[in-house]
Every structure is written in C-alpha cells, then in structure tokens.
C-alpha cells in the first residue's frame, strides 16, 4: 500500500495463540491463510477448534487468493487523529466475503486501508488483501480497493 494507510488509532494487537499464529505469520509473508478442515475441506473464520460442517477437530492452513467483496461496512470517527490533524478523520470497519473458499461464505472483519471518506466504500466493492505489520514478523490481514 503506497498511500496513507487508514487504520484506527490506539487499537490493541491481537493475541497470538496456536490457533491463529499461522494467520498472522502468513500475512507477514504476504499471504492470506485461512483455516481449512483437514477432513472435508471447508474453510472457516475466525479460527475455531471444530468444523461446523463435518465436526472434525483436525485442521490446516490454506492459502486463498486474498480477493473478495465488501459485504457490509461502517465508518467510525477516530478521535485521536481528528484531534492531531484538526479535521474529521474516520476509519472504516468492513466485513469482506473472501473469494476461493469451500463451504459457507467466509467473511473477515477488517479495514479497507485505502478508503478514507464516507463515499469510498459500497456494499459489493471489490477488494484485495493488503497486509499491515505488527509485532515481530507478524501482520494483520487488511484490504484495499480493486477496480
């Protein structure tokens, strides 16, 4: 992402745990890895111990294309940056339906980091993964708009 990255101020980093570490590590390598059931192949998010479709407790990481569409979104005032910059700054929270998954649609809650104004997002907007680093060799899966 070359332009300014629109991310909310002051939010905590995620907890890194065995059930999600692969997600953050893959993101740092530029991949979107989503949990996949080893038995039936259904993808799921956020990570859970069991498969909603076949009940298997065995799972693996699966790299998906990283493209998707905006399912819904909201804009929230960012008080910290609004005070710093002296103008209304808002971040977005968007729910993205991912392409290339097996099973029920897989949705990821994230930020579309190149969208800054209220008109910059629509339901159905095409997006692709854009990774934002945190900690050491970890990153958050965020998104940016695609034509």
């Amino acid at each position: 992402v070359s332009q300014a990255i629109n991310r909310p101020s002051g939010m905590p980093d995620p907890v890194v745990a065995p059930i999600n570490e692969g997600l953050w590590r893959a993101a740092a390598d530029g991949r979107l890895d989503i949990q996949r059931c080893s038995n039936c192949g259904a993808h799921r998010y956020p990570p859970t111990d069991g498969c909603y479709r076949c009940r298997s407790l065995e799972w693996e990481w699966s790299t998906v294309p990283g493209t998707g569409t905006v399912y819904t979104y909201t804009w929230i005032p960012d008080a910290t940056r609004t005070a710093e910059l002296g103008r209304d700054v808002r971040y977005n929270v968007a729910v993205i339906t991912l392409d290339g998954t097996e099973g029920d649609p897989v949705r990821v809650l994230s930020n579309v980091v190149d969208a800054a104004e209220l008109g910059d997002l629509q339901v159905g907007q095409a997006v692709e993964a854009a990774f934002v680093p945190f900690g050491a060799d970890l990153a958050l899966p965020c998104f940016r708009r695609r034509p």
């Binding site: 991310r7 909310p8 002051g10 939010m11 905590p12 980093d13 995620p14 907890v15 745990a17 059930i19 999600n20 998010y45 956020p46 859970t48 909603y52 399912y71 819904t72 979104y73 909201t74 804009w75 929230i76 005032p77 008080a79 808002r90 971040y91 929270v93 729910v95 029920d104 649609p105 897989v106 949705r107 990821v108 809650l109 994230s110 930020n111 209220l118 629509q122 339901v123 159905g124 945190f134 958050l140 965020c142």
Partner: protein
C-alpha cells in the same frame, strides 16, 4: 421436541430503583440498586421481601444472590441461576430460568433482577470487553485490532447491509427514536422526555455510520426486578397476575464475537427468527394476537429488524412499516410505549418487561386499549437471545 408446558408461571410484581445517567448512582453500589428494585417489586406484589427464595440474573451480573439474600432476610435460598452467555440479550434466558424454577417446584418466588452501574470508559473497551491498555482476550483478536470497539458498530454493520439489500433509509431509523421520545414524553420515570424531529436525528453526531447519536440509547444506572411465581400462588397476591405464556432462547447460527461471519438470514436480522417460531409454537399465539411489542432498542436498527423477525411485516419491509406510523401508540403495533432503551432508561431490556406487565394490568402511562398480549424480543450482538410472550390472565 417435547411439548412446552405453557402458562406455567406468571409475573406478580414489578419494581425499579431510581434511574440515572452513567455512573451517577455508583456510590449506591449494584447491590443497593438491586435491593431497591426488589423491595419495590415486593411492595407491588404484596410480598414480604424475605419470601424471595430464588434469584435469576443475566449479563454476567456481578450482583451476588447470596449477598442480596442476606439483606432481604431470605432464610431459604432455594434457587440461583445466571444465563450462560448472551450478555444483554440474555433476559429471555433469565425469565426462562425463573419460569422453570417455579414450575418445577424448586422455589416459590424467584426474582429476575438486573442492576447496572455503567463504568466510565474511553470508547474502545466495550466491544473489546477490556479497558484500554489491558491485554485483550483471544476471542476479540479478530475484531478489536480492526477498531470494532463500540456496540453501535455491531448494529451499524447490520444496518448498512439492510440498507443495501432493502433500501432502508436514515429516515426510517429516525422514526424509531422519534417514536421512543414521543412515548417517553408521557413517562415520568423516563430519562429523555424531549421529543425530536427527523432533522434533529440527522444533525446529531456520527457514531458508527449509518448510526448517529440519536440512533443510540444513553448508558444508564439503575435496577429493575420482576417477581415470578406459579399461577396458584399468584391468585393470593395483590396484583392481577400476568401469565408468562411462553419463553424461547436462540442463538444466531455460527454466531461469534461480533456476529459477522454468519448467513444473511441471521446477519441482516436480530438472529431471532427461530426464537419467534418457537415462541409462537409454544404459546399457541401468533403475531396477529400481539397487542403491544417490547423490542430491545439499544440502537434503532434492532427495532426495524425485530418487526421482520417476529413476523409483523415481510423481511426487508421494516423501514416502510415504521414510516407508516405503525409502531406509534395509535398504530397497528405499538412498540415500546414506555420509551424503551432509547428514551426511558437503558437497563438491558428488563424495563421492557416491566412495561409489558403494566400494559397487561392496564396501568401504563401510555396504555394501549384492551392490551391482552405483549411480546418481548431481545437484542443482538450476543448469543443466546430470545423472546418472552406475556398474556393477561383471565
């Protein structure tokens, strides 16, 4: 599924403490507020407070039944239950627990009580479930880092998709608050009794687009209580009993943390269509029988989606339904005649059941003529939620 034993319990007493703004009653403490509400409810019922032998709570309430029992003089504490999960949506579960306890003969008089003192906080803590600077729980690691920090945002995400799919507008959202304020104007207990216009709504500050300040309830301090017993015991008490015709609990399919990874039927919805099905089946009643609806309205979109989920209009038609004035007290389905969370007080739904009882006794400040059946539907953003159907005893 086994046949539900309907009308096996009733509400015989309602009460509440003083209401105040967030943190204003903090010096009293949660237990004192709860006790004020229980005393008020027992006076209403004509019971001695020491007769309370069961306690039913929700929303991870830290008010301890054993502590309340000491101050009430309860010598026989026979039942205590807290809904597992559900947060503010857990009220139907708390009524369910009380219902089961008295119907099964576990206790004589179970009080459903919710006591709330809202903590001062810095904005980001609510959705994350933590205070700023604290380590976050694993469960919010997929939401909080992305700024999913306000309960309003959960409703905003649902509302935005509802708008995209069905053409719901900010005017429709505004009508929900206009109705709440208009009703609260006649309610001496209400915190917000000034009526608003659609222009006031649109001019209020943005909280989580498309929601503005006047789409949100205001955090409150206070407590309310309902006393539940069997129809047999109710016959000897002061008030005409209000029957709990049926109860139901439900969770959204694949609900998780911020309920964003589910299917349209549950996402663009309160998630309670299965609870509606169960509640109507169990009570033998349907939407056509409901005279007044009490819908959890911490944020305006939940009323519009509740109207759809509980069968008062088609899916996606909640916006036009409110625009026609249907939810006003003169309309086809009066909603929240007391002012609801939006205008009376935000105590996570329990005051809606207090109003439901008043309506069926005929004592509401905005009495709906001939009200015989009242429906309560819980909010969203936590699971399980559900519904309660109250009926005037004959």
């Amino acid at each position: 599924m086994a046949t539900f034993g309907r009308d096996a319990a009733c509400i015989v007493g309602i009460g509440h403490s003083a209401y105040g703004s967030r943190g204003s009653l903090a010096d009293l403490g949660l237990s004192r507020l709860a006790l004020d509400a229980v005393h008020d409810a027992c006076r209403d019922a004509g019971l001695d407070v020491k007769d309370i032998d069961g306690f039913s709570g929700y929303c991870d309430d830290p008010t301890w039944p054993a502590e309340l029992a000491v101050s009430l003089g309860t010598t026989e504490l026979r039942y205590s239950g807290l809904v597992w999960g559900g947060r503010g949506s857990g009220l139907p579960g708390a009524v369910t627990n009380a219902y089961m306890a008295v119907a099964a003969g576990l206790a004589d008089y179970v009080v459903v009580v919710r006591s709330l003192i809202q903590q001062a906080r810095l904005g980001q803590s609510v959705g994350a479930g933590v205070q700023p600077g604290d380590a976050i729980p694993l469960s919010v690691s997929y939401t909080a880092p992305f700024g999913m920090a306000l309960p309003a945002a959960i409703y905003a995400l649902k509302a935005r998709r509802h708008m995209a799919l069905y053409g719901t507008t900010p005017d429709h959202l505004a009508e929900v608050t206009i109705n709440a304020r208009r009703n609260a104007a006649n309610n001496p207990d209400a915190r917000f009794r000034t009526e608003i216009t659609v222009e006031d709504h649109h001019a209020s500050r943005l909280v989580a687009d498309p929601l503005r300040l006047l789409d949100c309830c205001m955090e409150s301090d206070g407590a309310a209580a309902l006393i539940v017993t069997t129809p047999e015991r109710a016959a000897d008490l002061r008030q005409p009993p209000v029957s709990i015709s049926a109860v139901s609990m439900t969770g959204e399919y694949k609900w998780a943390t911020a309920s964003f990874n589910t299917v349209d039927e549950d996402f663009v919805s309160t998630g309670h269509r299965r609870a509606a099905r169960d509640l109507y089946e169990r009570s033998g009643l349907g939407p056509v029988d409901v005279d007044v609806a009490l819908f959890y309205d911490a944020f305006t979109p939940s009323v519009i989606m509740s109207l759809e989920d509980w069968g008062f209009c088609g899916i996606g038609e909640g916006g036009p339904f409110v625009a026609e004035g249907s939810i006003r007290r003169e309309g086809s389905l009066p909603v929240n005649p007391h002012g609801g969370n939006l205008a009376e007080v935000y105590l996570q739904g329990i005051t809606h059941l207090v109003e439901g009882v008043r309506q069926l006794r005929g004592t509401s400040c905005n009495q709906i003529d001939g009200a015989e059946v009242a429906l309560y539907g819980s909010g969203v953003g936590a699971s399980p939620g559900g519904g309660v159907l109250l009926r005037r005893s004959t």
